[in-house]
Symmetry: C2
Subunit: 705 residues, 2 copies
């Protein structure tokens, strides 16, 4: 906890609002600190109490007259800011403001919170809260919260934007035998937020895994920056709620959280090496896995079982989660064959059959963990007449400790008869499950994280040549001067050209005759597209005709377009029709951009064409991360478009290098020009050699940048 020592490990703590009355929160906090075994000096502060717990009680913090590092404030909201100023004047370094009644209650509360923040800034104090449960550190130890209980010693840090969830998890952790290094209730995040604590926990030697429950991220850029670095060091698992439309509504009525779009969070997590938990169960399953077991090097899983059915269920889960069933080496198979009964299955899953005692488990688990083709092991045990669940638990712990580099988990399928064994396993750091599927999912999370942790650090960003930022800006400024927000086709083409993105030639024809002349110049066949600042989806209103092979066809198409467009959108101003040479070879992809309020420009890539929204075969990244060839290549490889680009069903491969270049340039474009609010290059056709942006839509707005 390098940066926030005064919060997690203060030399002195003042409890402002400390109370003798067990009904008061100030009572709970004071006694929580005392009972947690806190080794520093505690100062109760309350003008209405002469002494508490045999200690003198101070009227104000300034009356203490000695240094105080941390003050926990639990008095009514109206008095908090006055007290905070006194803390500042007394040289306090950190505040934990438990008191509610700030931003979460509306405008007046928000004003109060802004004042409180200013006071902190004025005195250089850092603050947790307001409106929080407090924080706990089992290693100092310190329980500066009003929660009922103190977690067992462990290496998991849990950062929660919901106080109730923190209290729930604390209560639940005892029966799970789960140990924690710290619990942090974020409250309103007026000053310190999730990123500060992720950073702090990343530097804490007592923390091995960082769990978060968050409803929003305060600063997208800092989140990505801090997590990207922290996740190289230890796993960060986040349950982000408010991910659905309905959930986001609930979020905004709850803490006034601005829920960023799902896609942006997914992209940000992926790019930062953050694991996203899809459920509360998954969050804690991953916590258990990471807290005690090493990371697997590869996804090859061995299963050792005393029953067939559960092993099949587990095998299904292995495949469903994209892991692999390990294939044992010959020596392992020979060893198993020589030592297990004939009815046993010596291939993976190793079935020791129903009469297996501990010795058989010991032999088989040791054999498979020794095998170079095995990266992790799952041990399944069902209660049968001769099963030895406790002895087997000891075996699993022993072998898990012995074979250090390979994670081992246990699935003890049953209840009472296996409880002692389960407890032993849990206590000794082997994550233990009742049913197989969650264990496999946890293993999958470990593999995913290992992929990030051991990936080479980000290489140097690509330097793009021939970027004419000024030229692109000129086009945009002209459009803004024209009081438009959508670029016309030829304007968008100019922006593309300025950033070195090949776009198809497109020329505006005002009349049928002009269209014919331009077509002749470009060479047949051509496509015609209506040009209007008010028509976003040209195809939908009959504004596009393709594959025009003769002058007569061009003329007829021009007139048809004009006729249809005037019929469907009679009020739209029509600038003319754009004549474009036809490009119909190559793979159709989309490159697009939308801006996320938290994370900035978000790039989409995937299968293009008119069905892009129907198929949704796309993937997202923050533009900020698309500045290396590797990052772009990984993004492309994630999509079904990649299958086409590599050459699908006998087709020659498409020019992925050129595509990568265009994606780099697109990311650069939307990063440079913040006036661009949305962009669609759809389709971009990727040929065997080179690419062509066939239809480019750019929407802009005036911005002060």
């Amino acid at each position: 906890m390098d940066r926030l020592e005064f919060l997690f490990n203060p030399k002195q703590v003042a409890v402002i609002g400390a109370s003798q009355s067990p009904k008061k929160i100030g009572y709970a906090i004071l006694y929580n600190i005392i009972n947690s075994g806190y080794k520093g000096i505690i100062y109760p502060v309350n003008p209405r109490e002469p002494e508490i717990n045999g200690q003198p009680c101070y009227c104000t913090i300034k009356d203490i007259g000695k240094p105080v590092e941390l003050a926990v404030i639990a008095i009514p909201a109206a008095g908090v800011n006055r007290v905070a100023r006194e803390c500042g004047e007394a040289g306090v370094k950190g505040l934990v403001v438990i008191t509610a009644g700030f931003k979460e209650v509306g405008i007046a509360g928000n004003k109060l919170e802004q004042e409180l923040l200013s006071i902190c800034r004025e005195f250089g104090m850092r603050m947790l809260g307001p409106n929080c449960v407090g924080l706990m550190n089992t290693h100092s130890p310190l329980n500066a919260s009003f929660a009922n209980g103190f977690p067992s010693l462990g290496n998991i840090s849990f950062i929660s934007q919901s106080g109730a969830m923190l209290v729930s998890i604390l209560d639940w952790s005892f029966e799970m035998g789960l140990g924690f290094s710290s619990f942090i209730s974020l409250g309103n995040k007026a000053d310190l937020n999730e990123v500060d604590f992720i950073e702090s926990c990343a530097g804490d030697p007592n923390t091995s895994v960082i769990l978060c429950y968050i409803e929003d991220v305060t600063n997208g850029d800092r989140f990505v920056e801090v997590c990207s670095a922290a996740a190289r060091n230890k796993p960060i698992v986040i349950l982000k709620s408010g991910t659905s439309t309905a959930g986001a509504q609930a979020a905004s009525s709850h803490t006034g959280a601005l829920a960023g779009s799902n896609r942006a969070y997914d992209a940000a997590f992926k790019q930062s090496g953050v694991l996203k938990a899809d459920s509360m169960n998954e969050l804690f399953d991953l916590a258990r896995a990471f807290s005690a077991q090493p990371l697997p090097r590869q996804p090859r899983v061995a299963i050792v079982t005393n029953a067939g059915g559960p092993a099949i269920v587990t095998t299904d889960a292995v495949e469903k989660n994209g892991l692999q069933m390990a294939r044992f080496t010959k020596p392992t198979i020979d060893l198993l064959r020589a030592n297990l009964p004939p009815a046993a299955n010596i291939y993976n899953p190793v079935d020791l059959i129903g009469d297996a005692r501990n010795d058989r488990y010991h032999f088989a688990l040791d054999a498979v963990l020794k095998d170079d083709n095995v990266d992790s092991a799952l041990v399944l045990l069902c209660p049968a007449a001769v099963t030895e669940p406790e002895e087997t638990a000891k075996t699993i712990v022993e072998l898990s400790n012995y074979h250090k580099g390979k994670p081992v988990m246990a699935v003890y399928m049953g209840g009472k008869s296996l409880q002692a064994g389960k407890n032993y396993l849990t206590k000794n750091g082997v994550p233990t499950f009742t049913f197989p599927e969650p264990s496999v999912r946890a293993l999958k999370g470990m593999i995913e994280y290992a992929g990030y942790k051991y990936s080479p650090a980000a290489p140097v960003p690509v330097i793009l040549s021939d970027i004419d930022q000024a030229g692109a800006k000129t086009v945009i400024n002209q459009v803004l001067a024209d009081r438009r927000v959508v670029l016309l086709g030829h304007e968008a083409s100019m922006v593309m050209s300025a950033y070195g993105i090949p776009a198809s030639h497109s020329h505006l024809a005002l009349t049928e005759d002009e269209a014919a002349t331009i077509a002749a110049r470009l060479g047949l066949p051509v496509a015609l597209k209506v040009s209007s600042p008010r028509i976003a989806h040209k195809t939908d209103v009959g504004g596009v005709e393709i594959g025009l092979h003769s002058e007569a066809e061009v003329r007829r198409a021009f007139n048809r377009i004009m006729e249809k467009v005037r019929y469907f959108v009679p009020d739209a101003p029509i600038y003319g029709v754009e004549v474009q040479n036809m490009v119909d070879d190559g793979v159709e992809v989309i490159i697009g951009m939308s801006r996320d309020i938290q994370f900035g420009p978000l790039i989409v890539f995937g299968l293009g064409g008119i069905y892009v929204n129907l198929l949704e075969e796309v993937t997202f990244r923050l533009a900020s991360a698309l500045n290396t060839r590797q990052a772009v290549e990984m993004m492309i490889a994630e999509t079904k478009a990649y299958t086409l680009l590599k050459g699908y069903r006998g087709k020659k491969p498409a020019d992925i290098n050129a595509l990568v270049d265009v994606m780099l340039r697109s990311a650069r474009l939307v990063t440079d020009l913040k006036q661009i609010t949305e962009m669609d290059i759809n389709p971009l056709r990727v040929h065997q050699k080179g690419v062509t942006a066939l239809d480019v839509k750019i929407t802009i707005e005036e911005k002060a940048h």
Copy 2:
């Protein structure tokens, strides 16, 4: 248990292999029957024991000299068939063969098992097993198994193809407070299989929900027939394992590659109203939901909570599972506003805030359950200072009983401090969870099942006119006579025509000149496709050219095709090139068929074209179920193709009626002609009026039908 009374509720039970030695399985079985409180007569049979438990022991079953309904056999495999015959001769109605060493050990065991089955058939006995744990019925009561323990009385029947899983679940059920009506260990399913027991449990008044763990289905047709009827009566939830690698056959058609036996099981489950559990947790979560709560009428969920964060997580889960957050009526909102504190959220989720005691829960839960816009309720509770988990549990049970038609579930987020409340809820039939997501998933399963249960019974199958089965057979027989298994284009067209499926005109050209002549006759533009019995994917080898607008183009294309095909597949016999008129309007869909070994012909429908395998936007049904307009329409509506067919982005709607007709005819075709092993109509173009099968691939084999 109407049909299998002699198994579940026999008047007499003989235990063959009964023993005094606690190490013997025959000991466990005998004492399990005695200790379960079995009210009928028990006969121990063992030639080596004079008496057991103060009862005379019989040498053979024939020595009993009185009627015996059920015999449980637990002697070494070698003696089983002799003993089974004696049972038959003694007039026994049912056998439970515990003994292992049959089919599961290989060829010799399989032979033994077949003999055993013959003996049963000879005497009209029915048999459970061999190689099983036995069966239990808590209502008779009868524990005819060697499992350690007897389940609590309840209304869940669990049928398991894995004995170990059954024993595990039994052990686990005690700590979950889960009650069962029966446990059935299927063993090798030599005679009685999952379908027999589903049928029997469906008729059992003590069973409300049927759970199965199965690894395969013995008879697909019977499974569908029995489950379709049984599921109208009570929910059937199945965890089917072995879903992973199973169906990886080398199939030459798109449909075959897409199918795999997974799809067949999914389709069969869907059509039979069977719920598929994706994990063991889900299997039992659904069991708990169904066993005690009524079915919701619609998917509108109300949430009542004392904490915001967990409510957002729950709201996310509601949306993710396709359920809806209920929108309360005005009277409900007014009522909540008038009676809850101002800081409470009176919209859904109803947040009673952290200081809510039982009274607030009572008031709010009653209010929302009364609301006509609410179909189900989830009650969330986090431990806070004044929370009353036990009183609130009583409230939830009381209101759940009072508001009869609406399911209520509880999420008690925490551990020890909530345990008493959790226990009360569980005991009184309110499914209770620690985290929210599984409760929502269970609710989703209930909605899904309600959809089946209350759907109108299948209407009368459509009568299709103009089916020339004989004509189609003639074509197929000619191809078989020619020793080919793949129909050429024009042959496939003839089969289509015989079944009234419009196919594009296609004529074989042997030379460039013939191609030109046919093209002129059909009218330009045309498409050319190579005709060869050995080329499955014509596009992949350059065997297809489309959009040929002039005679010159047709001639060039003919030569290019010949050249490429000879280059890529030099050994393939080339019959010529098929000339087809171009049809390029309409929505491209695929209708395909592959045969599943268990479930027969499986129809695929979805987005067609060359990317069908890439996109996998398809859905499956058993052909047998596609004999009504409604069934076909539901299948179409499930896919993204439906969005296109309805008219996507300004396009006019396609002729869905014509498509339905073709799907009905396709299902009929593959049902009638069992020689057809695989079929692809891809693409079928659905026009504004009518449809055209553009490319039809039919694979056949000689069959005795």
